[in-house]
Symmetry: C3
Subunit: 304 residues, 3 copies
């Protein structure tokens, strides 16, 4: 991975770079668990610019930078920023990049991270740009799969929930397209993957679209669950009629293979029942925890 390069999309990384990053993530995770104190980022400053709220992503980036011995300056609330005075994103980025060594940006508008990377004098990492990309979420999704199975190839991955609006599932599909996987896309008919995404992956991915989780659950290695958003339904009766079929409960898990795993990008509302949390296949909290070593590895690769 080229030093001093921005990360706007997972497609910015070659598969080799991805595997390199995973290896380093595992090293970082081992250092964290052993309590080893890292100092390689001492004297470096990361700026987190969050124009949209996000506890999890911001805190895990900040934890990663501090675990490496670095410092953080932060705008966690867009209302306390100069954007309120009408400043352009380009100007804000030009200035903040003169205060820091690395910028992490979350923004409600698609394309914001790309624009930021053009005007910044330091590398920029996209932490979510509207309905666009959220590459570090995808990195830790892939890392978790790779770590659990020792590979990504030759797995059956079932993606469940809101496949129309969920940006994490789009990024995940684009990233999976470079591996040899079977993908089941399970959603209510009105929340299917948009055709502009399907078109980009259909030549490389073996895919099945269905509205029945039961029909695919037994063959699944990775069940990737996302939230079905009530507000997407004009008709609340329709919402209530479908929601049950897309919730993961004890009985759902009982149908799954012993070696399979359940992931979720979080936050979870009620699409996975709390009774499932203690099952050994439930890996979504480990997945969230991997956010720190994966982001440590990424910061290291970019600033080394």
């Amino acid at each position: 991975m080229k030093t001093n390069r921005s990360l706007v999309s997972v497609e910015d990384l070659s598969t080799e770079e991805l595997m390199d990053l995973f290896k380093l993530s595992t090293d970082m995770d081992r250092d964290l668990r052993s309590g080893k104190r890292l100092t390689e980022m001492q004297g470096k400053i990361m700026a987190t610019l969050f124009y949209e709220p996000s506890t999890r992503t911001r805190l895990s980036f900040e934890s990663a930078m501090r675990r490496l011995g670095g410092s953080v300056i932060s705008v966690a609330d867009p209302r306390s920023s100069s954007a309120a005075k009408g400043e352009s994103l380009a100007d804000s980025i030009r200035v903040v990049s003169s205060y820091s060594d690395l910028i992490i940006i979350r923004h409600p508008l698609e394309g914001a991270a790309k624009l930021a990377s053009r005007f910044s004098s330091v590398p920029v990492i996209n932490a979510g740009d509207g309905s666009g990309q959220h590459p570090t979420q995808t990195l830790l999704d892939l890392y978790t799969i790779h770590r659990e199975f020792g590979r990504i190839d030759d797995l059956t991955i079932t993606v469940l929930g809101d496949l129309k609006y969920g940006r994490t599932t789009h990024s995940l599909l684009l990233a999976l397209a470079r591996f040899e996987v079977r993908v089941n896309l399970v959603s209510p008919p009105i929340l299917k993957v948009p055709s502009h995404i399907l078109d980009r992956v259909k030549s490389s991915l073996q895919m099945v679209e269905t509205d029945s989780l039961e029909s695919v659950i037994e063959d699944t290695d990775v069940l990737y669950v996302t939230r079905i958003q009530k507000e997407r339904f004009a008709d609340m009766n329709e919402y209530r009629s479908v929601i049950g079929s897309y919730s993961v409960v004890r009985e759902t898990v009982d149908l799954m293979k012993q070696q399979s795993i359940i992931l979720h990008p979080l936050p979870r509302v009620d699409e996975i029942d709390e009774n499932v949390d203690n099952d050994k296949r439930a890996r979504y909290f480990e997945q969230a925890a991997y956010g720190v070593p994966v982001r440590m590895a990424l910061i290291h690769k970019i600033l080394e």
Copy 2:
């Protein structure tokens, strides 16, 4: 004190542990004043999760952790958090505890800190949970008394103001119950200590309830003042008629013993007149300042 243990209530600590903590607080205070640079928390991360605003408590915890050489990640504003997306507190805590070594939580609901301590993989310190506990405030109240008098036993402590709703006074009473003290409870009749608190302390504490500060001020060693909240009164005439009797002014202090002290958990509005601030008995700003060494000692004891 057991390493790696949460602090939800002052009752989690034995009297011996309390005295140990006070001794260490005094050591920490001496180190601070001498400008000694401490590094024992280098590489450690404290997460401050404030679901309710609080400058004083959050900043003093963060100052304490940084004085020990540690780092902080922070959610200071609940509106910029995942709670806004409907995530449960249990899930938020599970995730944040994988990013940090210690969690400080303030939450508007009683019992939140207890729940957090159950789901966290790292120790949790309660920084106030609704009408529940605020144990570190009580620790620094007791520490200030102990430091000023060299003891807590055999003192006359007058608690003044809103004794019905003030959570700091409830915590303080519960903590005082393990010492040999005389307590005067001074409040307007409608703001007396609730019976569920009185019942827990009446067998161990020698108490007098009164609505007259004058009747007890001369024997007082420690005058602990809290705010009478205007919004508690349905009748503004009633509020105006009582408020004067419960404000501490120059004339009040003139009735007090030379060796007595005045405390207040702050923020103060107008229940202590500013003319009192320069009297040597006014110790509320020293009390606030002790928040740092007491919290340093606590962090040390929990993470050592």
Copy 3:
């Protein structure tokens, strides 16, 4: 410069102290560019208290303190502070000064920083108090001029825009009064410099007031641009009729000397066209970047 002294106004500094500070700023800037790791503020804590939003000023102070190896505790949002509970500024400052070694304050009311400096037990730096002063902005304005020309004396400085309400231009004029400069004041007639400011500088500054930028642009060494705020005009037709004359566009710059420079305190809205950004005379982003070394030097001088 006296150690442990507050900075409320640029007038707190003698010209000799100013020149000393600029020399140290250049040293700090060189250290930053060389990647040298500084540690002189290790163990020290700076509190940033922003009762009014400001990304740029807060982040550049925090970056400066971290570049020096120090720590930061921060209130970036007044709504999450004790001020919301009715606490006086004096009380807040007394408490926060017991948690930190240095306070940076921004407040909507003029005089707030002065008051804070009276109640604080540690030095206070004014980061903008309402329509009052913003001395560190003026320091970096002067530093940029001094660095570009090697001097401030004997230059022609044209100040453009809203000269009535813009607090940065008032501070700048007061500071320029101690140098031998020629000043052009260019604004719409309704936004001229107030007489209470003019009265303080007219004996020492050679000034021309005009509403025509064209009449003075060719002789200008430093063009200092500020925003004309739409909301100042009751009549939108009047606003539209004047705004064009006070925007800096490609054609404006073509009239300027090759060795001249264009500054702006930022944020910029549309008073400088983006086409100007790449001209070598456009120095406003360098000016913003100097905010870090200038504030590093200031922190060093105050806490050394």
